[in-house]
């Protein structure tokens, strides 16, 4: 892969990949590491010639595996990111939302993000997470229930 092709791929995928890693891990420094490591692994894999549309799920899969490695090591994923609302019109509401997300289990955060923010289908999520489609369906259902309970307990803003 040459620099021009890499730039096109990076422009198309980096932002959403970084947001995914940052929101699921809850930390920007981890997201930075995961972003760089994901592209490095893509370049090393010999699949660097693929189109951005094909590379995107592959990059998400690498990022997900890296997040899972961190969970297995028992590292850092329960630490909440310092949320500093800036342009938000209702900062206290956004802060509550961030705290709610951090209270979900990492797996639930991951699945909800992929489904709701990345708009992935169950099959695409299965490819990214290495689960089968049925497990994704069940785990996503549980994640929605967890989120619903949090929204109910916390949620005059989201009612």
């Amino acid at each position: 892969m040459d620099e021009q092709a890499f730039s096109a791929l990076y422009e198309a995928t980096a932002k959403s990949l970084w947001r995914y890693a940052a929101r699921v891990s809850g930390r920007q420094d981890i997201a930075d590491d995961i972003l760089q490591e994901s592209y490095l692994r893509l370049l090393r894999s010999g699949r660097s010639g693929m189109e951005p549309a094909d590379a995107r799920p592959y990059l998400f899969r690498i990022a997900t595996n890296l997040l899972h490695d961190r969970w297995r090591r028992g590292a850092d994923l329960q630490l909440a990111e310092t949320v500093e609302p800036t342009t938000e019109t209702h900062p206290e509401k956004a802060f509550d939302a961030a705290r709610m997300l951090q209270r979900l289990k990492p797996r639930a955060r991951e699945l909800l993000w992929l489904a709701y923010m990345e708009g992935m289908t169950h099959r695409e999520i299965a490819n990214v997470t290495g689960l089968n489609v049925m497990s994704v369906r069940i785990l996503l259902l549980r994640a929605r229930r967890e989120a619903a309970a949090l929204l109910r307990s916390n949620g005059k803003e989201y009612a």
Binding site: R23, V83, A94
Partner: protein, 102 residues
């Protein structure tokens, strides 16, 4: 009802995203050069150091045994140590060649 819940979850995730501290990603050329550096100069793995230490110990033992060959039973030990050193050396070569292939 499920649609309403979907809406609320999506709303919550959007709020989280909107509220996070703005963060600038490295520009593509910057990321490209960082990646090229990492591809060319991969640090040696810890395993290499471990295998290196095994070889040093094996060589030391070998030298000691060769110096003390007046005992017949040492010939067997010599063979065993040589075999270990050969295996350790071969696996180290494999690891090093894999590490520097990029």
């Amino acid at each position: 009802m499920p649609e309403e819940l979907d809406q609320r979850i999506r709303h919550m995730l959007h709020d989280v995203d909107a509220a996070a501290t703005p963060h600038e990603l490295p520009a593509p050329p910057q990321m490209w050069s960082q990646l090229q550096f990492r591809l060319r100069y991969r640090p040696r793995k810890k395993a290499d150091t471990f295998h290196g230490n095994v070889i040093f110990v094996a060589i030391y033992l070998l030298a000691l045994l060769m110096w003390n060959t007046q005992f017949a039973w040492l010939n067997l030990s010599l063979t065993i140590v040589l075999a270990f050193a050969a295996v350790a050396g071969a696996s180290l070569c494999l690891l090093v060649s894999r590490s520097f292939r990029s």
